[in-house]
């Protein structure tokens, strides 16, 4: 039920970054969510629609990459991926494994933006060139 807070945190972070590109539109937000992040994707998507409304992120797509849990198995001396989050044992040898190496990710990986500034500046350049040509 905290997906609304999560969505708000994403909007805040992305808005901050997008402000470095004035006039740009955010097209896509890419997230990495670990199996232990405790974020329900469907619930986040529902909250996303509500949260982005009226912000510079309105209409932006949310792309989620799910990250499985990886633990370090002391017996195998290797990092091994778990199939789920119901048993923290090495799937190869059955040894209990508490040493978590991956799976808690709750990250914004990247955003895709349409940079209108570049467009304006190139249009301006063309206009300038045209003006010079007329003279």
């Amino acid at each position: 039920m905290h997906e609304l807070s999560i969505a708000a945190s994403i909007v805040e972070a992305v808005t901050e970054t997008a402000a470095n590109y004035p006039g740009s539109t955010v097209k896509e937000v890419r997230l990495r969510l670990g199996a232990l992040s405790d974020v329900v994707e469907d619930s986040l998507r529902f909250c996303w629609e509500l949260t982005v409304e009226g912000t510079p992120l309105a209409g932006a797509a949310l792309i989620v990459t799910s990250i499985p849990v990886v633990v370090h198995c002391a017996r195998c001396n290797d990092d091994v991926e778990l199939e789920g989050v119901q048993s923290f044992r090495c799937p190869r040898c059955g040894e209990p494994a508490a040493d978590l190496r991956q799976g808690k990710e709750l990250e914004i990986e990247s955003i895709e933006i349409d940079d209108h500034c570049m467009e304006q500046s190139s249009e301006e350049q063309m206009r300038d060139r045209a003006r010079r040509g007329e003279q």
């Binding site: 905290h2 972070a13 970054t17 232990l36 048993s87 990986e109 349409d114």
Partner: protein, 226 residues
């Protein structure tokens, strides 16, 4: 128009994580062991904490508590009967405590100086899901489970149990009439968090409290003095 990818690679809860890191540094400097107690509503966090505060006071330790609830200061009033300083945090609908709320309530807490405390307990909002994502700067996260809740709760809420440093089973005085399957419950906790310390307690009879208080003293010595 150009399309560009801007790499962010930042935690969604970065702001909370940064505030929590600041709190952690503050706790360490003050020499106070901070514990975050998390469970479902009705597990008996408040009764367990009440007994813990009372026994710590008897042993001469200095402890205080911050207690989170959506509404009411009922828990703070209950806990204050132990004689320890207690401050209520009302989240007004928010399902978890976050580092900002903790910081705000530590500031201007009348009569409480962190460096005058041995232990600070944070009783989180009753919820086994959301609190697991929010670091409060605590040294020890405690997951509580009562004998009335079902032995498979650790499997149903693996994230919280996996992120815990210690587990407490409450209400063991009524384990038998509840048909509590002890071996299954302990097995499930270990399945999700191998090697975790588990305390089987009753706030009513005091069972298991001595072991729990020893653990607190050990953790304090290990993490603060050592």
């Amino acid at each position: 128009m150009t399309t560009r990818i801007v790499e962010l690679r930042r935690g969604i809860l970065k702001k909370n994580d940064e505030l929590a890191a600041g709190l952690r540094a503050r706790y360490t400097e003050a020499g106070v062991l901070v514990l975050n107690l998390v469970s479902s509503p009705g597990t008996g966090k408040t009764a367990f904490l009440e007994r813990t505060l009372r026994e710590l006071k008897l042993s001469g330790a200095r402890a205080a508590a911050l207690v989170g609830d959506l509404e009411t200061d009922n828990d703070a009033r209950r806990l204050a009967a132990s004689g320890a300083p207690v401050r209520q945090i009302n989240t007004h609908g928010i399902c978890h405590l976050d580092a900002e709320m903790i910081g705000k309530h530590l500031d201007g807490w009348e009569g409480v100086e962190l460096d005058q405390l041995d232990y600070l307990f944070i009783e989180n909002v009753g919820n086994l899901v959301c609190p697991s994502s929010y670091d409060l700067g605590e040294k020890v996260r405690v997951a509580l489970l009562s004998v009335t809740e079902g032995e498979d709760k650790p499997l149903k809420y693996p994230t919280l149990f996996n992120s815990a440093d210690a587990a407490v089973i409450t209400k063991i005085d009524i384990a038998e009439p509840c048909g509590f399957d002890r071996a299954t419950a302990l097995g499930n906790i270990h399945e999700i968090r191998p090697g975790i310390r588990i305390f089987e307690t009753s706030a009513k009879t005091g069972a298991g409290m001595a072991e729990w208080l020893n653990y607190l003293a050990e953790e304090r010595a290990k993490r603060i003095d050592g």
